[in-house]
């Protein structure tokens, strides 16, 4: 995956908006003044970063926990390296999976290479959804676990200084 290149002005824009847009009539103008470029350029740069995929989306970012989705299960799977991309794509497309990533294993302590985050209003609800994933992966998943969060100790937006 090639990382699209962000120039210093792009980075400044990302940094200026990391705490969220000001909730005022003309948020792009406020951002433009902060960064020191015209408003039209702010909009054009954000559109380009969206098109390139450097920005995934712009919108209201929900806090699942406060919306009643208090159970959050990180399901982790050991899938063969040959098939992980193909299967990851299938799991990532499931509507109840909010994030789906391939990560390296850390043997012997950590054999899992596919991560799928599942949110639900209860642990039972999460477990039902994990069972759907298990059904899809079948014997391709050599082992899996679901790690429930018992406490959120810190949650803040992206911070780059």
């Amino acid at each position: 995956m090639n990382a699209p290149s962000l120039d210093p002005v792009d980075r400044a824009l990302v940094l200026a908006s990391q705490d969220g847009l000001p909730l005022c009539r003309e948020p792009w103008r406020a951002l433009a003044e902060q960064v020191g470029i015209p408003e039209a350029e702010v909009i054009a740069r954000l559109q380009r970063m969206l098109d390139q995929g450097a920005i995934r989306r712009i919108g209201a970012i929900p806090n699942h926990y406060r919306l009643g989705y208090t159970a959050n299960g990180m399901s982790v799977w050991d899938v063969t390296d040959e098939r992980v991309d193909e299967l990851g794509m299938v799991i990532g497309a499931l509507p109840f999976v909010s994030h789906c990533y391939r990560r390296p294993r850390a043997l012997p302590i950590w054999p899992y290479n596919l991560f799928a985050m599942v949110h639900g209003q209860s642990r039972d609800a999460v477990a039902e959804k994990v069972a759907v994933i298990a059904g899809i992966l079948g014997p391709e998943a050599r082992a899996h676990q679901t790690l429930y969060s018992s406490r959120i100790l810190k949650k803040s937006g992206l911070r780059l200084k």
């Binding site: 919108g59 209201a60 937006g157």
Partner: protein, 149 residues
């Protein structure tokens, strides 16, 4: 939850208008006035139902990041968790029910800084620590469909 709150959350997790007056455009689509949209978003933010209105940046697009996990003895968990949370580079920190019981995301401007923070945390905590940087994302982040009941 009010209808307007629902719509603001569900309809605008993506495709937030990139126009000079986005909140007025949202208001027009929802058939309410701009002031009402702004006020409702402020309330949602104050109540913590949304963390912000803004951009979600693809991991790795700016700087470096990783998901780290540590196996912390139960008796030291609070102390170690607090210490990890004090790093400004740590933006999520969760206790999870597993031998690896502390999970946190580190985001830094550079790979060098990321390694330095990992080493620092490992040295100070003296607990087994693994680093699992994202290699590939399989989900185009389209937001999260909320099941309204």
């Amino acid at each position: 939850m009010e209808d307007l709150e629902r719509h603001l959350l569900d309809d605008f997790q993506r495709d937030f208008p990139l126009t000079p007056t986005p909140f007025a455009d949202m208001a027009q689509r929802l058939g309410v006035d701009e002031a009402k949209v702004l006020e409702t978003l402020r309330v949602l933010k104050a109540e913590g139902k949304i963390t912000r209105v803004g951009a979600v940046v693809r991991p790795g697009a700016v700087g470096a990041s990783t998901l780290a996990a540590m196996a912390v003895p139960e008796a030291r968990l609070v102390e170690v968790a607090e210490m990890v949370s004090t790093y400004p580079e740590v933006n999520h920190n969760y206790q999870r029910e597993h031998e690896l019981n502390l999970w946190f995301v580190i985001t830094t401007p550079s790979q060098e800084r990321l390694q330095a923070v990992l080493t620092d945390i490992r040295d100070r905590c003296r607990c087994p620590l693994i680093s699992l940087p994202m290699e590939r994302s399989y989900r185009l982040d389209l937001g999260f469909g909320l099941a309204w009941t």
